[in-house]
Symmetry: C2
Subunit: 154 residues, 2 copies
DNA sequence: CTCGGTGCAAAGCTTTTGCATCCGC
DNA sequence: GCGGATGCAAAAGCTTTGCACCGAG
């Protein structure tokens, strides 16, 4: 609770710094979107974010959401995922442990996991191939044990 | 050369088995698409496949290409990638070393690499989280050294 | 002969774009 | 007040769908 409020404050100040550095405007819509993302949990797509803001009677256009998400991805406050369907999924990225994803082919459930070895591989491959690697995305796909499998989305 | 022909034969017989097992028809279009994929190299999207077949005066509709690609993905002869844009990329999957991808954020160049440790992680996470993991996709993104960077697509 | 597959075009969905209006600076 | 940002709607781009026709089994 207090922790969440602290994170929200921290994230806002990071966003403000970034907007100032890039000479972008601090519009209320941008902050409302940031707040909505850090208040809700889990993965989301543009339509879901749009709906949940509309339900709170905060009107933002889809165009503004796309625009703001791009900025938030640029300043590393949000990560964008492409989980195989053609629908971009987003996720907050600050104050949240680095993790990767395991997706059930049957019920489409998304599970998060951490493995420090991925960072080692990233460092080694970066050195080896002379790349300055900045992000990685590791996705495993398979079937979860039937007892746990919900066989329905999310 | 001979090796390529052998692989093509092998792949065809795998495809035939799969079609028979699933009671799907062995149409000339399906084999033409398979052959085109295994003759060309590298990654491709639907439009590129469509064009290169049209250029060879083999007319297939896009609908058939999408249909056939789904089947080929199901029988593991083709892999489908989502590299972040909303355009599905495909790649032949048989007789080709398991690999992952490194993408330059500047020039969009896609580089392949292998690392056996990923398989270890996959096995361990599968055991740990009770998943029967069947595929993985690991993508690194970053900038390649300027001297090598072409700063243009592909 | 049957019914699955193909081709074509239309529809569907997500994302991008153009333009008038608005408001942060 | 200037110029970037927003909102709306139209356009774009990839993929799916519907339907008539074709051809594999």
């Amino acid at each position: 609770m207090t922790a969440d409020t602290e994170i929200l404050q921290e994230v806002k100040s990071i966003f403000i710094s970034y907007l100032e550095k890039q000479a972008l405007r601090k519009t209320p819509e941008r902050f409302a979107i940031l707040e909505e993302i850090y208040t809700r949990g889990g993965h989301f797509d543009v339509e879901r974010l749009y709906d949940s803001m509309k339900n709170k009677n905060y009107r933002v256009s889809r165009a503004t959401i796309y625009n703001t998400l791009d900025i938030l991805v640029d300043c590393n406050l949000v990560v964008k995922h492409q989980f195989g369907d053609n629908l971009a999924q987003y996720e907050k990225a600050h104050g949240y442990k680095q993790h990767d994803h395991l997706i059930c082919s049957d019920c489409q459930k998304v599970i998060e996991f951490c493995d420090p070895r991925i960072q080692n591989i990233q460092n080694m491959i970066g050195d080896l191939l002379q790349f300055n690697i900045q992000h990685h995305s590791l996705i495993f796909r398979g079937e979860c044990k039937k007892e746990n499998c919900e066989n329905r989305p999310q």
